[in-house]
Symmetry: C3
Subunit: 340 residues, 3 copies
């Protein structure tokens, strides 16, 4: 596919500067882009890369474009514009609707049109597969579930029974939705009595769920993933948790049961959020933090310490264990000093 | 299924207060429960929810029941009683014994009666499937393994060869048992020589293993998961680790190789336990902690710092790196002050 | 298989002490080894175990061997020697080349000789399976991929399209390679616009990847895993990350997008490495650390605090939040004290 810079401006609602007829046929990173390719800079701190840039055009904001002698596609949001250009050159693959003969589909399953079901996928009783859905090889979908329009399950996804997934959602390989929450009642003999998990999982529209992420079914009621939520790989969402619309969660983050995250939150990777907490809307948690109290005020929150030379760290970590004593000694000295 | 409050008291070994003939047909959370439903409160801090409760009955301890005008099922352990009521309304599904024609089962496999094997499951040579076992779609069970009576493998579980699993255990989807432990010998050229992992995994009775949890085979000997152990999702158990009876481990916790956890331990989520440690019985580790030394005394242990406003945290985290210097300065001041 | 100590010395390039004709038939841990078995001690701190050792021979360095009256196989590197002895007693299983009839293999796939493809595996269009490759049951390999000579995919591995894997690599069950990186552009309405991930994953020779580990495809360009890299279970490698040759990463470590690790690094378990960082060669990060800045100097780095009694920890963690104030108070006192 070859397109002029002028056409790309039209498609993305941008202006341009330079040769309107320059032809673009693909997209590349700014360091790698050559003739026929378009790239972008969204963070001004990378502007120096423009000096040696060999791309046929670069997507820039107006301020960066002013100083750039080459061809540019100009938009206040270069990153979003780049995403749209990418979509133009790499449209959704048109996979012919097809149900592989090796797929095992129960009689009571309802399948709409334009559905793709891969080899060895298994669809259980009374489940509804809506139009435009793609289910990859080796997926298992339990009974009484709904897979909404145009949702994509990559290969080897597992969906337990009674799960509802909205429209245009994407589940990557190894995802497990609806496994039992972690609930056990202690018994007198110190063994644990399993709490049957009779709730369900409800996933909204336009959700993306990364590889090997797990979302447990509720004990009672629902575990809810709101519209537009994006979860990275290896995230864990406990039973009865709720994640508000357009919240994003980076890789390896653990969200314990019954906690609720507000809308538009941004949770870093490897974060741990304890159970039964409430985080309000627009909360940002930086990576590796530990959240053990509810957060009622929007803002950026962090915990942890930062990697240091092991030799120094060992001394400081040892002192951490004396911190309360240090604080008390300090108070005593301050008092003594001010008494004089 | 409809049952009277009196009958539920009989089934669960409880007493009751109120209308013995009130009919109960299902279970719900205290906020959601309506007519015909029973709920529970096990933590007195939620007693306020009783004021607006519309459930036909509530499971309470005697102290809470005294102040509640509605119908109550009275038991010293409301949570366990609730678990038993749940089981009454939601008994194990009776799945007819069935081996799906698409399952691939080697000739030398021994299969007892009342077994369910789902579509596309693969059972390898000389493996024994005991009575009442359910193996979900897409599971793989390696050779020379034993899957004990009434154990359930949810879809897409992978069991490597020579694994033994006890009775009534539950493995959720995406679980991998018996993959090679992480063992390599350094070579002079800085490459790594793989240590062949010839040990096995032995899992006890009544164990539950959460989705996408991994348990590695031993290098030599056994990795052992004791009876009654409950592992949440995305837990990692390294080679030759041992987990004592009735220990519970929450999601995302990493237990490195050759470490042993005692009986009845409670390990929070996102904890890291280094290799070759020994934790005694009845140790509690709170979430997100890092354990790098053995623990020989029962009790509650923690590490880490707690999420704070990022602006404040950044200053405090920077100071952490000066902690040893601070401690020394403090000591000098104390000395100077006491010298006077 | 039975072999004399003399023969084992020859095979492993070692010397020996004691009875050259003693017969060895298997390998065991030092505590468990009995007649006919060989064991090893690589760390001198375990030398005490030699006193009660019943093995027919022990692999020792010359210093330990001097004090040991029993039979020993003597080598400067007992651990590596042990690994080689293990390989001798447990050679690669010779699995007859076989493609299971239930495997689904597209016509355009090229398959070399001596290939094993397990039940229900799916190989997509134009993918090349080189000689000696083993693909386990239930694996999915996307289109236009290359699985290099003698590489092993254990059951239920998922490889997205356009992935290249080198020779002699081992991928454990539940691994997902090539899922979309976590990239979204914010929109004015606070929803997220997916950045199409058009890059690929390239994995080198002699790489081992642990169970349920995930490696995302690049946004543009490549995510690269160098030759000889060893990743443990449940590791996450973000899009466009690069891992240098012979680097090892322990379980549960999260490596965010566009970060690059040098050669021969050793990254502990449960570590988090933020995005867009550069770690130079020969960096060691201890377990549970958080790395948020690039590291340009080889060495050992750490962060975090160490598990303590909860009662003490709670006070110290509270003081952490006052650390900057404490430091300032200390400075004031020091100034006051020196002014006198």
């Amino acid at each position: 596919m070859i397109v002029t810079l002028e056409k790309l401006a039209e498609i993305t609602g941008s202006t341009f500067s330079g040769d309107n007829n320059i032809e673009i046929s693909s997209v590349a990173a700014i360091e790698d882009a050559g003739q026929g390719q378009i790239s972008f800079i969204s963070n001004p701190k990378y502007r120096k890369l423009l000096e040696s840039c060999e791309a046929s055009a670069v997507i820039l904001n107006s301020s960066l474009a002013k100083d750039y002698a080459g061809n540019s596609l100009i938009n206040d949001d270069p990153y979003l514009t780049f995403a749209k250009v990418l979509n133009y050159f790499h449209p959704d693959e048109k996979v012919p609707s097809d149900i592989h003969p090796s797929a095992v589909i129960e009689d009571s399953v309802s399948i709409a049109k334009n559905v793709v079901i891969g080899p060895n996928a298994v669809i259980s009783q009374r489940t509804m597969i809506e139009s435009g859905v793609k289910i990859g090889a080796g997926c298992f979908v339990g009974e009484d579930s709904i897979i909404g329009e145009k949702t994509v399950l990559h290969p080897n996804v597992t969906i337990y029974k009674e799960t509802t997934i909205g429209h245009r959602s994407i589940l990557h390989s190894g995802v497990v939705i609806g496994a039992d929450g972690f609930g056990f009642a202690p018994q007198k003999d110190k063994s644990w009595f399993k709490i049957r998990q009779i709730g369900k999982v409800k996933i909204g529209d336009d959700v993306e769920i990364g590889a090997n992420t797990t979302i447990d079914r509720a004990a009672l009621g629902l575990t809810v993933i709101g519209d537009g939520v994006k979860l990275d790989n290896q995230v864990q969402v406990g039973h009865n948790a709720q994640i508000g619309e357009h919240t994003v969660v980076a890789g390896g983050t653990m969200i314990a049961g019954s906690s609720s995250l507000g809308k538009r939150c941004q949770i870093g990777g490897a974060v741990a959020i304890s159970g039964h907490l409430k985080l309000t809307d627009d909360v940002v948690i930086t990576g590796k933090s530990s959240v053990i109290k509810s957060i009622s005020k929007a803002g950026v929150y962090s915990s942890g310490t930062i990697a240091d030379e092991n030799r120094k760290w060992r001394r400081n970590a040892a002192r951490f264990r004396q911190l309360d004593e240090m604080a008390k000694a300090l108070k005593r000295l301050e008092k003594k000093s001010s008494d004089k």
